[in-house]
């Protein structure tokens, strides 16, 4: 191959590594000190890009020149840093001690809020930023033209690394930050105001996110999809580098930058897949990344179902519920039946996640992977092999179980935040495959024409089919939760060491749980595909995973029936409110945050507490 081409390719890999490092470095520092994986870091990056793309041209109107340009970039980063401070004071400070699932969900709530706010503040159009004065002409490298701005970016990464290193090694703030990374209570016992230290850390982290975003404006226009795409990559960088390690993030960014630059030559469309595969391989070999350490695994994750005496007359209640479900078509119109069908499907999906999180303590952040696999398995069966619904549903279920077995084999070795990130990565890989493998999956358009067999088509028969399958599967899962297998999972959730010491094969149990949960989610996905007649990549996306988590949170993680109530509540609210407002995501985000702060035990848990306090 042409050496000039390779050189240019390597250089562009370096420049994207630099940009990625600057952003990811902020994420890893914030995690190191607060132990919170800040989903909103990508949102801060996006705000940085929007702010710079709006602010810098106005400054350049006043006085055109490189100094103005760079001052504008810096000012944008400082503004974002201050937004980070606001987020810390209003939200993060209240959840430092919360289980990591709640932390992830709450910061994802910020992501949703910011998505709507950005459109409100900056408008729905992408904003193309100005080019940097003095850096407009490309330079020649081995006879090829290379943008000179990219060279500046290449230098920016190491400069930021150096400055951050000096800050952390040579200042009192840095010493205290590193001490707090290890032992917050001890730092407080020495008279250090942690609150101030954490606020300072959030400023630094948000500043770096804002800087990363602001530096992009001459390369890409600010757009509303920036937050989730950068956060996925930044997660990979921090996880591969080792959570909390700045040099690790730098090394990981370098590797990933080159992998993307050259991976594009081998797999032209699947750079995302390559990046996430790297993460899977690194975590399989080094479960804590390049420079991460075992003790830094994030907050507690043992929240879940506890034993309680069975409700009196539960058999009767079950019969009543089945009766109501069966009689529902008599009272409902086609629209209501469609809503009810979807609620049942999502209830099954959320319930399958409950087996992992509530029972197993396995905080999966990518459960959509198996929902999507079930849906795509069924749809691909219909499209490519012309099978009927009766064969396609088991096909989807089997594909999901197989996928869960594969992902689970990697995942059960991990714990805490690494596990959450790994499951997220798995879902993102599948999302990328569905999105980029257009010939088979139809890409962004997905697959259409996935209709049920004639006996099950029409709102009433399909509703009844869904209700029957959901009830049977939920009862089966409930049986599993209350069997010795479920007890073993709970034992491992509450204390892995003790569970192993009494002879439980914790990893095997978790692996099996992963496959069962994946299969159930796959069934839900298949049912969903046939209910809508189509599938698309969004079924595998982060927001589908978060939907399931929100349903769990809304219903109550500590209860068996919580996810069913949560699915009904979330879906019902969405159908009711979404047509009324364009700010649905803002409302949803605020609701998630409010749930975490005010009702962490969910609807069912809160009602039960209230009932228990009365009795």
């Amino acid at each position: 191959m042409d050496p000039a081409f390779l050189a240019v390719q390597a250089l562009s890999g370096l420049s994207s590594a630099s940009s990625l490092f600057i952003t990811a470095c902020g994420l890893t520092i914030v995690f190191g000190v607060t132990r919170i994986v800040n989903f909103a870091h990508g949102s801060l990056y996006m705000i940085g890009a929007y702010t710079a793309a709006t602010l810098v041209p106005q400054l350049l109107e006043l006085s055109f020149g490189p100094v103005t340009f760079w001052a504008g970039i810096l000012a944008s980063a400082i503004i974002v840093g201050l937004i980070g401070v606001i987020i810390e004071v209003l939200l993060l400070r209240r959840i430092y001690g919360a289980p990591e699932l709640f932390q992830l969900l709450a910061t994802f709530g910020i992501v949703l809020v910011v998505q709507d706010l950005v459109v409100q503040v900056f408008g729905p159009q992408d904003i193309l930023g100005p080019r940097a004065p003095g850096l407009r002409a490309p330079v020649e490298i081995l006879g090829r033209r290379f943008p000179s701005y990219e060279l500046v970016l290449i230098a920016a990464g190491p400069i930021v690394l150096g400055l951050v290193w000096l800050l952390l090694r040579k200042t009192r703030f840095g010493v205290l930050v590193r001490a707090a990374t290890q032992d917050r209570d001890m730092v407080a016992s020495l008279g250090v105001n942690q609150a101030l230290l954490f606020t300072g850390t959030l400023f630094l982290g948000a500043f770096l996110a804002g800087l990363g975003g602001a530096l992009q404006i001459p390369r890409v226009s600010a757009n509303t999809g920036m937050d989730l795409s950068i956060i996925a990559e930044a997660f990979v960088v921090t996880v591969v580098g080792g959570m909390g390690s700045v040099p690790g993030a730098f090394l990981a960014a370098l590797v990933i930058g080159q992998l993307q630059a050259f991976g594009i030559l081998i797999f032209p469309k699947s750079t995302l897949v390559v990046v996430f595969l790297l993460m899977a391989v690194v975590l399989a070999i080094r479960p804590h990344g390049f420079f991460g350490r075992a003790e830094i695994i994030g907050g507690s994750h043992a929240v879940g179902i506890a034993s309680r005496s069975p409700l009196p007359g539960r058999g009767f209640i079950l019969l009543v519920v089945i009766g109501i479900l069966a009689a529902f078509p008599l009272a409902a119109d086609a629209y209501l039946l469609k809503v009810a069908t979807e609620i049942l499907i999502f209830a099954l999906f959320a319930f399958s996640l409950q087996l992992l999180i509530g029972v197993g303590g396995v905080v999966s952040f990518g459960h959509a992977a198996f929902f999507g696999l079930g849906a795509y398995g069924a749809a691909l069966g219909v499209k490519w092999y012309g099978v009927s619904m009766e064969a396609a549903l088991p096909l989807g279920l089997a594909l999901a179980a197989l996928g869960a077995g594969l992902v689970g084999a990697f995942v059960v070795r991990l714990s805490g935040i690494y596990l959450a990130m790994m499951t997220l990565a798995a879902a993102q890989i599948l999302y990328a495959v569905a999105f980029q493998w257009v010939e088979v999956t139809g890409g962004d358009n997905g697959i259409v024409g996935v209709w049920p067999s004639s006996w099950a088509s029409g709102p009433i028969p399909y509703y009844l089919l869904t209700a029957a399958l959901t009830v049977v599967t939920v009862l089966l899962l409930k049986r599993i939760i209350e069997a010795p297998f479920g007890y073993a999972l709970r034992a491992a959730r509450d204390s892995e060491a003790r569970a192993e010491a009494i002879g439980l094969k914790v990893r095997q149990h978790r692996w099996l749980a992963f496959m069962i949960a994946g299969a159930a989610a796959g069934l839900a996905g298949g049912l969903y595909a046939f209910s809508r007649g189509s599938v698309d990549p969004s079924l595998l996306g982060i927001s589908t995973s978060v939907d399931a988590l929100t349903m769990l949170l809304l219903g109550g993680i500590q209860t068996v029936m919580g996810p069913l109530v949560g699915a009904a509540a979330l879906h019902g609210l969405r159908d009711w409110i979404m047509p009324l407002t364009s700010l649905w995501r803002l409302l949803l985000g605020l609701s998630i945050i409010a749930m975490v702060l005010i009702f962490p035990r969910g609807l069912v848990g809160t009602v039960r507490d209230w009932w228990g306090a009365r009795a």
Binding site: R178, D185, M186, A188, L190, G191
Partner: protein
């Protein structure tokens, strides 16, 4: 020497629903060394933690130098001049000796000569030879010295010292005793939690015996030495 520097009334603490401390009331005089002695699990460590505000479910009335500790956050309690050295030492293992000392640095009250790394290195000569070494590469005894030195960097008027002799070599235990005497000579009051009776008896002016979360005895060390029946019953010595 008779003014109380730390007074605690009716200290109670809970782990979940289990009550582990029952209405402890005691005082520490300025400049004295008082030993909190009792069997393993008696509640000595919890007492010190609760004073520092590190036990979430605790109820207490306490004053330090006349300031009510009330619901003060831990860092504010430390800033009043009350140092704390936890039993597991909790050295920052990623930080060097000098950096560990830096984390504890707080200005000295007016008119007192502050503790500096140099002064502390004279008190703990072993540390002087390993200024640049990371906490993770130090022995238990060295970590214990560093933990005490780190707290002294805050120029406290009193120190809560949890099990300084636990798990370290006898020769270093001897150095610990020297260090506590040196602190006392500087006017720093020490509330010492100890299981090592000989160590506690050798350096303390007064003692407080805790059994199952309740105070069984409070008085001078000489008195406790004389009361063999009580010692045999509560301490087994």
């Amino acid at each position: 020497m008779n003014a109380p520097i730390l007074e605690v009334w009716n200290l109670c603490a809970f782990y979940g629903r289990a009550q582990v401390l029952f209405d402890l009331t005691f005082r520490l005089q300025a400049g004295e060394v008082m030993a909190l002695v009792g069997r393993n699990g008696a509640g000595k460590t919890t007492t010190l933690k609760a004073i520092m505000g590190l036990v979430s479910a605790s109820a207490r009335q306490a004053t330090f130098k006349g300031h009510s500790l009330g619901r003060l956050p831990t860092y504010k309690i430390a800033r009043l001049g009350l140092g704390y050295v936890p039993e597991d030492r909790r050295i920052f293992t990623d930080l060097t000796v000098e950096e560990n000392l830096e984390t504890g640095r707080r200005p000295a009250p007016a008119g007192r000569s502050p503790w500096t790394p140099e002064r502390l290195f004279r008190l703990f000569p072993n540390l002087a030879e390993m200024r640049g070494r990371r906490g993770s590469q130090m022995s238990g005894g060295e970590q214990q010295m560093l933990a005490i030195a780190r707290t002294l960097m805050g120029n406290p008027d009193a120190i809560l010292l949890d099990e300084p002799s636990e798990g370290i070599a006898p020769v270093i235990v001897q150095m610990m005793a020297e260090a506590i005497r040196a602190m006392k000579a500087e006017g720093v009051a020490v509330l010492l939690s100890e299981q090592n009776w000989a160590f506690a008896a050798g350096i303390s002016d007064r003692a407080c015996v805790i059994e199952r979360g309740e105070i069984r005895f409070q008085g001078s060390m000489a008195e406790l030495m004389a009361n063999e029946a009580l010692r045999a019953d509560t301490l087994g010595v």
